[in-house]
Every structure is written in structure tokens, then in C-alpha cells.
Symmetry: C2
Subunit: 337 residues, 2 copies
């Protein structure tokens, strides 16, 4: 591997001069600069980022930890985060926790030992607090996306889940639905709780009794065949006329389960959900959704993170960005007589 010293030798200068040329710092005569650059070219020199990070005490690398790489909400979010990071000259490491706390914990190890400058992450749930504490101890700046964690102070970019949930419910209710079931993510996740709350509040507002049986709680992802979901559907009576799914993955699992029971959407049963389907939004059936601004979650989150890192000293107050969702009415909801 060619080092700064190889360049220095061949160019008959000191390593320091080479360093200066590389970083455009200090004064170097044009002649020397040209000579050094030429040698770097010849030897195909590429600086060793690790050596540099070691002395600089910063890696110019950020980490993005998402919970489901197969979910278009997160991949679109990733694009946003990537764009923002690169725009500011940071490299980006990705990790994928699969909504799994122990995988998340492993990634926290990686993050800590890898000495990244900061982390943008969607926590797997409330117990992630322990992982975040480890970041805090080490003074690793982080920004939360999509989910808050009780007991943890930090910048965060969130969706307005409760409000969106209410709108989705409003839509169903206005179409005459009264028996509405909820397929939701784990209640140890703040966004799931907010969605549940919106659901309950709208039921109450319409003087409908909340039926515990109508609520099914499972993982937000990744997608799998849900035998649990099937079993739950089997024991439902009266069978709901409509379902609200806590995210797009759950909507897919639900659709899958409904189909295997021979039920058509929207003819036999109506479905709405959180999150749009990325490029698949053009596929039938057009599900009515609360579309979140996935790209912005990533882009803005990354911006908050970079600000935090840049203005490290002036701690400043915690920032919270709440992104509204847009209800896109398509045709997965049937109007009841």
C-alpha cells in the first residue's frame, strides 16, 4: 500500500508537505505542489482514511440504522438520508435491525467501535432506551426517526401518527364503517401507540365501543406469512367490514391473509393503511393510505444530525420535526349502504 511517505520520498519532500498538498492546508509553493501531485498520480495514492480518523478523532462517517430494508418507507427514507449526508461530505454506513432488539444491540456495538461521528436511527422500540444510553455515555450524537423513546432526550423527526390515524378512521367512518379492526405494530413502539390512540379516539368520538378483540398486535416487519394473523381473523365475529393497518407491511400481510380466506378488497372488506407503497402504488388494488413523507424523514433527520455534530458545543434545545401525512383516497374502501 502506498503511503504518504512513499510520495514524500519520490517527490523529495517531507511527509508533511505531502499532507499539506492533500489537505490544501498551510503554504506550499506551486512548484512543490505540482511535483507532489504528479507523484501521487503516478503512484495512484489514496489517503488512508483510518489513519486520518485516528488522529483527527472524527471519521466523517455517519451511520443510518433502519428497522426494515425491505420496506419502501425505509428505503425511500434512506435515499433522503444518503443525499443529505453526501451533500455535506459525509460517508454513510447503513444497518438494518429487522425490528429486532438484539440485532440493534449488535449494530450499536459496531457503531461504538467504529467511531462514527453520529447516528440516525429508527429505534426498534422502547427497550432501545438501553442502547441509546450507551450512545449517550459515549457522547455519540444521534437523531431519532419515526419513533420516540420514553426517557430519551434527542432531536427527532416524527410523523403525526395520531392525527393521520384519525383521518384514516374518519374516512372509514364516513363511508359507513362501524366494525373496524386494527392490525398494528408492537405497542412498545411509540408510533404504534399513537396510531392506536387515534383509532380509539375516533371510536369514542363516534360513540362506538372499543372491542379489544378487534385489535391485533404484531411486528411492523419484515413481511412474513402471518399464521397468527390468520388465527386472529378466524375468531373474529362479527367480522369487521374494514381494517386499518399500522403500516404498509402489515397491510400486505393482511391482504395476503384476507385473500387466502377468499375475501376481496374492497368488495368484501375494506382496507386502509399507513405509508404509501413507493413505486408499487400503481399496482392494484389501490389501497387508500396515509402517505408519509419518507424521503423527508431521512433528509431532515440527517440535517438535524449534521447540525448537532457541527454545533456540538452550543448544545441548544432538542429539536422535534413533525411531518404530517397525506391521506390518499384510492379505492380500497367500499361505501356501505
Amino acid at each position: 500500500m502506498v503511503t504518504i511517505y512513499d510520495i514524500a520520498n519520490k517527490a523529495n519532500v517531507s511527509a508533511m508537505t505531502v499532507s499539506r498538498v492533500i489537505n490544501n492546508t498551510g503554504r506550499v509553493s506551486d512548484k512543490t505542489r505540482a511535483k507532489v501531485k504528479k507523484v501521487m498520480q503516478e503512484l495512484n495514492y489514496v489517503p488512508n482514511q483510518m489513519a486520518r480518523s485516528l488522529v483527527l478523532q472524527q471519521s466523517k462517517t455517519l451511520f443510518l440504522l433502519i428497522t426494515d430494508i425491505t420496506n419502501p418507507f425505509y428505503t425511500t427514507l434512506s435515499r433522503g438520508a444518503e443525499d443529505a449526508a453526501r451533500k455535506h461530505g459525509y460517508n454513510l454506513l447503513f444497518g438494518n435491525s429487522d425490528e429486532n432488539l438484539s440485532k440493534e444491540s449488535e449494530y450499536i456495538n459496531t457503531i461504538l467501535s467504529t467511531r462514527v461521528d453520529g447516528v440516525l436511527l429508527a429505534p426498534a422500540g422502547d427497550p432501545s432506551a438501553a442502547h441509546l444510553e450507551r450512545l449517550l455515555e459515549r457522547n455519540v450524537p444521534f437523531v431519532l426517526i419515526d419513533r420516540e423513546v420514553p426517557g430519551i432526550q434527542s432531536d427527532i423527526v416524527q410523523g403525526d401518527s395520531k392525527e393521520a390515524s384519525k383521518k384514516l378512521m374518519e374516512h372509514l367512518l364516513s363511508y359507513g364503517h362501524r366494525n373496524i379492526a386494527l392490525v398494528n405494530g408492537s405497542s412498545s413502539i411509540s408510533s404504534a401507540r399513537d396510531r392506536l390512540q387515534g383509532y380509539n379516539e375516533m371510536l369514542k368520538l363516534h360513540d362506538l365501543s372499543a372491542n379489544e378483540r378487534y385489535i391485533f398486535e404484531t411486528s411492523f416487519g419484515p413481511f412474513k406469512d402471518q399464521s397468527g394473523l390468520m388465527a386472529w381473523l378466524d375468531q373474529l365475529h362479527p367480522f369487521p367490514t374494514a381494517f386499518l393497518a399500522g403500516n404498509n407491511v402489515l397491510a400486505m400481510e393482511l391482504l395476503h391473509a384476507l385473500r387466502s380466506r377468499g375475501l376481496q378488497v374492497p368488495e368484501d372488506v375494506s382496507v386502509v393503511c399507513f405509508d404509501d407503497f413507493g413505486m408499487y402504488s400503481d399496482l392494484d388494488p389501490f389501497i387508500t393510505v396515509a402517505a408519509q413523507q419518507a424521503y423527508q424523514f431521512g433528509y431532515l433527520g440527517m440535517q438535524l444530525l449534521i447540525e448537532r455534530i457541527t454545533d456540538r458545543e452550543e448544545a441548544g434545545p432538542q429539536k422535534k420535526i413533525i411531518l404530517p401525512a397525506e391521506i390518499i383516497v384510492r379505492r380500497s374502501v367500499k361505501k356501505l349502504a
Copy 2:
């Protein structure tokens, strides 16, 4: 930041002893070991991976460069790669080139300066050869996925694109279609060429003349509204009864364009494509596809890479894994009278 010396001081041993404890190398008395471990706990010590990499001359980090993070083929592939990497104790860095050669080039810079131990990548196209040469110069092991690059020798995991293309065509032909158009990725990409070849060979086999006009070449992704595609469709006559799309993104773009022309699939026009839709496969319309083993592309590719790195000395012959695709017949193809 607490270092190995902090531990050493507090435990009244040398840094070397701490290092031995951390890495379980050499001989350390149980008593000393226990003492050191206790101090590490107390001080919440996490080794500095960069310092370690610097001396070890290896980072235990691999890089995965894909071309479209919004494409489920690549995200599923990523899961496979991630699983394989972690299984062998490697960390994984992701990058996303967006099918864009200059973004790819930037990532090659990152890869080089970051001193990763190896790279698994889907090249953006034949011109990627220049980038791969840079890896070769530096002796950075790499494995190609999905696409080969003329002039570059390397291990590779590929799909059997030509064969799958023929099967897809066979399906269309057997349903009576004769006017079949192809929406394909750039011909500077080997897989696109293979798919075109399969298309042409089947036409020839059935004594159908290849109509240049029936072939539209564009980017494999990421998804966008395709005004070019629209324009192309507009000047097509006779209008094809069926379309073969070179991947799932193109299929979506095509569907989008067809829909805006008021055409239904399969009633008005038939569509088949490469790559399944991940969890969206359950959405209507069920497109008939050549499903590739995305997960295996990543998993096996990563295995090849790790083998290469491990047996670095015994160069061994280039390995080539060809994964067949499975035709999944759904209902996007109409039987013609």
C-alpha cells in the same frame, strides 16, 4: 474517550495485557483477566476499531454497492449479503449508485480510502470497468453481482438472463402473442444484453421478424415517470399485444404509462417482466414474472467474497455462479384467440 491505557492504569497492568484479554490471545492469568474485565466494564470500554484496523491492516468491514435501493431485488439481495457478512463476523457498509456511473465512482473513492477488506457490487454498466481497474490496482478483492463487465476477470453471481428471457417469451408466444415489445435497461449492461438476446432468439425461432421499433431502451431504475416511454408508446403501430419488461422497475413504469393511456392489463395488453415484487407480489395485478433468487445473489456473492479474502494467497480460478430464474405464471397475460 477511554483507551486501553486507561484500563491498564486502573487495573495495574500493561496495555498489552489488556489487549490480550480483549482478543483472547496469549496467556493471561485468570485473576488478571478477571480484574481487567471488571475495569473494562466499569469504564465502559469499547475498542477503537480504527486503531485496530490500522495496525492489523484489515478492517473486518466489507462494502456492498447496489444500483437501486428502492428496487426489492436489490434490497432482498442486500438482506442476503448482510446475513452472510455478519455470519462471518464482518461489518457491512452499503452504498447505492442509482445506476449512475459518477456516483459509483465516488463510492469507489470511499471504498479505497476506507480500506475495506472487500467489495460486493453490482456494476452500473460496462464503463464500470474503469472503476474496477482501480480496485484491481489496489488489490481490493471484489465480487460482481448480477452483471459482468467485459475485460474484467472476477468471481461473479449472475442470473441466467438469456434463458429466463426465452422462457418469458415462450410463455407469451404460447398464449398467441406475436407483436411483442421489449422495454429494457441500457445495453451497456450485460444482463440487459442477455435479455435482449433471449428476446431476439425466440422471435427468430418462431420466424418472427425483429422490429427495431419494438425495443425501448432506458435505465433499469430508479423508478420515475417516463415521458420517453410515453412518447415511444405513442408512435407504436401496430400496437403490441404484449410487453416484456427487463426488470420490475421498468414493469412499473410501463404499467404507469399504459394506465395513463387507459389500457388495462391483461384485458387490453399483456405484460411480463424480470424479477418478482417482494412483498408486493400479492398486490393486483398479478404480473407474470421471471423471479430471480435475489436473496441468494447477495448471500452467495458475499460467500464468494469472503472466501476470496480468506484464501487470498491461493488465488484459485475465477468462480461463476449462475442462478436460474423461475417463471411464475400469474394473470397479466391474456390468451389470444
